[in-house]
């Protein structure tokens, strides 16, 4: 392994670790805000206890999202200096704007929310968590504009030996950025919905705090069903954008070798990249690939062979991740629909098997989100900026192997330890349930 391979591995490790915490924040912030607004509107203490219970889990998760985010910003300069120098004129702007517009809001109002219970009015307190929810989603928008630009560079010219921004609006209207933002945030909402449903299911099974957890379950089920459907819709947008702007990625997602019209989707295959074919193929669904990529059953879809070998992404991981992601996404729609149905028919308590399943489901949306990022980022290879700069050209020149080995080892050990502590704390407080003593909370929110 060289500096390039290790730097890529390090970015993958740190980004995926960061992306354990971020998507839950994106969705859970809205749910907690909703619960608190119910409390403000009704004055019902039950909603306050819900807010505080889910809020505590939110905060444990939020802390790790914040601190692991700094590692991402630093790494562009540390490990990807050539990239930063070459595209900083256009790529740096959304990062700086993200910090200025979103991070300040998020971090200031989270402090107000945690410590402000008896200092500001109930309404202003609920406004604070709403601002946090808005700001975390706003930060996703800006960082995904940046990522969207890597996927499909727009609004720049090559000048002075680098890419220089000439059209800021092109960056903001980049369809790849917009669909990435929508698809990523709603997948975060799915994670949050299944997180809340899973933990609620555990308590409902134990018959503990039934009113709180049945209500939590219902909110999350409705939120989750809407989000899973939105994931499918925005995933379709992504598919269309990929086929237009990243045809080699589309071909890799489908292990599609030969350029053809009316291209089918192959459900299962074992790609053989060395010989430019698939060893085994099962279940071909005619027209579907043309339909997915171009919304036209007769459209021509370029095969991998249409691209020089050095411009093709690794086929097998992209193909496999895409399939698993779509399979999981479809499963989530089904499960969320059942959850809404059982919740609506008041049959959730009498469905212990389904509740057990919901507990086990908690990690799956996380895995689906990871798989999605693997499709997006491995599928982008060999480019760090699609068609413009190769990943191998972006790595720092003045960083040596020992430094990257040291940093990767450090991140692995530190993040491993933090993951253990985080899971321990989430499980501990999830099991503990809402605080029993409501009087003290009510007194505190007298304002």
């Amino acid at each position: 392994m060289d500096v390039l391979a290790l730097s890529r591995l390090q970015f993958a490790v740190t980004a995926m670790f960061h992306f354990i915490f971020v998507p839950l924040t994106l969705g859970l912030s809205w749910l907690v805000a909703f619960m608190e607004w119910r409390y403000v509107r009704t004055g019902d203490v039950q909603y306050l206890r819900m807010t505080k219970f889910w809020g505590k889990l939110f905060l444990i998760n939020f802390a790790l999202g914040v601190v692991t985010g700094i590692a991402m910003e630093f790494q562009f300069g540390m490990n990807w200096a050539e990239y930063s120098r070459y595209v900083g004129d256009i790529f740096g702007a959304p990062l700086a704007i993200e910090a200025t517009l979103a991070f300040f809001l998020e971090s200031t109002f989270i402090g107000v929310w945690i410590f402000g219970w008896n200092r500001i009015s109930k309404r202003l307190h609920a406004v604070s968590i709403t601002i946090v929810a808005f700001a975390t989603n706003l930060s996703a928008l800006w960082i995904l504009f940046a990522n969207g630009w890597q996927q499909h560079p727009v609004g720049y010219v090559l000048k002075n030996g680098r890419a220089e921004m000439v059209d800021f609006m092109a960056l903001l209207t980049n369809p790849n950025g917009i669909s990435k933002f929508l698809h990523t945030t709603v997948s975060g909402y799915v994670i949050a919905a299944f997180f809340v449903m899973g933990i609620s299911a555990w308590h409902i099974l134990k018959k503990s705090e039934l009113p709180v957890f049945k209500k939590s379950f219902r909110y999350a089920a409705v939120f989750g069903l809407a989000a899973t459907l939105a994931v499918a819709l925005t995933g379709d947008m992504e598919g269309v954008n990929v086929s237009k702007t990243q045809p080699a990625k589309l071909a890799a997602m489908e292990a599609h070798w030969e350029t053809q019209k009316s291209a089918p989707i192959t459900l299962f295959a074992v790609p053989d990249p060395d010989n430019e074919r698939n060893l085994v193929e099962f279940v071909k669904l005619p027209y579907l690939l043309s339909l997915m990529g171009y919304h036209d059953p007769n459209a021509e879809v370029k095969g991998l062979k249409a691209f020089p070998r050095e411009d093709r992404p690794p086929v097998t991981p992209v193909f496999a991740s895409f399939r698993l992601m779509v399979g999981l996404g479809s499963l989530f729609i089904l499960i969320a629909a059942i959850a809404v149905f059982l919740s609506w028919k008041e049959r959730i308590e009498s469905s212990p098997l389904f509740l057990k399943l919901m507990v086990l489901m908690i990690p799956l949306p996380y895995i689906a989100a990871w798989l999605g990022w693997m499709v997006a980022e491995i599928g982008r290879q060999p480019w760090i900026v699609y068609g413009l700069l190769r990943t191998s050209e972006g790595v720092s020149k003045n960083v040596d192997l020992a430094q990257v080995i040291g940093s990767l080892a450090g991140f692995t050990v530190l993040y491993g330890a933090l993951a253990a502590v985080d899971i321990y704390l989430i499980v501990k407080f999830a099991k503990k349930g809402p605080d029993a003593n409501t009087d003290s909370i009510v007194k505190m929110t007298r304002a």
């Binding site: 444990i60 910003e73 562009f76 990062l95 910090a99 109002f109």
Partner: protein, 342 residues
């Protein structure tokens, strides 16, 4: 005014405000093992910054982001050349951040003491290393046409270390004064005593730094060439003296304000002295990265200027509001009663 100069000023302001704000977070943490007598006081220290530390840290992220957006070449060279020290700062800040959130989530003394250690190390290390890094930037780094020729150990030269110690002492005094302003009771009184003990030490180190700077760096050249900049170092010295005066006369709030001003002005003194460099080369000035040869295009700087001029004042307004919400003096009793406290 040219956009590069405007962004140079803004760059300096972002770092200065970051040091002023996260400075007291670091300071109280560095002092924690020396002035907290029991668990209640350790909690009080932590909770004094509980609502604000996260917002303070964002000034660093914004300073980093602004370097990237406005001076991408400097960002690339600075972050890759200072790889190992930045990595250590990063690890420390990660540990510091989670220690604040996680300490109160367990009950055993071992759990608390482990996070206390993380809190102290995670604050001391960045305070020292930011100083070392800036000291070396003031001095110049060994760049030539082939790139950077230094190591972590070449950064630990006497001037770099002195700047590191200066930062630690500035933040320690700043932190002690923060505790006198934000807390009440025994701890606040002890913190006032600590400020009295530390201020003379800080003053000696500051004098040593000012003298050493004349030999180790070219920072003062700018003040000779552009006399209108002279008020900056003068204000740095004056506010440090004012902080000392107020420390010894017991006017702690004024002392804290003076300490804020000291940190701002010390940072500005260094930054203004660097102009037009962002990363001077110690080998030959022709290899230096300046605000002119490493900046973004005028178009990008225009966009970023609009964003900064509109949103930074808004940020300052709501952060100031949050400081006002949490401006009362808290005691160990208040913390014991508050179930949301860390």
């Amino acid at each position: 005014m040219e956009f590069q100069i405007l962004w140079f000023i803004l760059w300096g302001v972002l770092w200065a405000v970051y040091f002023m704000l996260d400075g007291f977070d670091f300071g109280i943490s560095i002092l924690q093992p020396f002035i907290a007598k029991n668990d209640a006081e350790r909690r009080l220290i932590l909770n004094s910054i509980g609502p604000v530390w996260d917002g303070n840290e964002v000034w660093l992220i914004t300073a980093g982001g602004a370097t990237f957006a406005a001076f991408p070449t400097t960002y690339a060279v600075m972050f890759s050349s200072l790889y190992t020290p930045l990595l250590l700062i990063l690890f420390a800040l990660i540990i510091r951040g989670v220690s604040i959130e996680f300490r109160s989530k367990g009950d055993s003394p071992a759990w608390k003491s482990a996070w206390d250690k993380a809190f102290v190390i995670g604050s001391f290390l960045p305070a020292l290393l930011f100083g070392v890094a800036f000291g070396n930037i003031f001095k110049g780094l060994p760049f030539d046409a082939d790139g950077y020729h230094g190591t972590l150990f070449s950064l630990l030269n006497p001037y770099g270390l002195l700047t590191g110690v200066l930062f630690v002492m500035l933040f320690a005094v700043h932190g002690a004064l923060w505790l006198t302003v934000r807390t009440k009771g025994d701890l606040a009184e002890r913190a006032a005593g600590t400020a009295k003990k530390l201020w003379p030490v800080l003053a000696v180190i500051a004098v040593a730094f000012l003298v050493f700077t004349a030999f180790a760096t070219k920072l003062y050249d700018n003040y000779l060439s552009y006399p209108f900049l002279a008020p900056i170092p003068v204000l740095a010295v004056a506010s440090l003296l004012a902080a000392g005066y107020f420390v010894f006369t017991g006017k702690t709030l004024r002392a804290f304000v003076a300490s804020c001003l000291t940190i701002l002005m010390v940072t500005f003194t260094g930054v203004a002295g660097l102009y037009p460099n962002l990363l001077p080369s110690s080998i030959d000035p022709k290899f230096s990265y300046t605000i002119f040869n490493s900046s973004s295009s005028p178009y990008t700087l225009t966009i970023m200027t609009v964003v900064a001029l509109v949103f930074v004042p808004i940020v300052i307004l709501y952060q100031a509001w949050s400081y006002k919400v949490f401006s009362d003096q808290i005691s160990t009793d208040d913390i014991a009663k508050d179930e949301d406290a860390y």
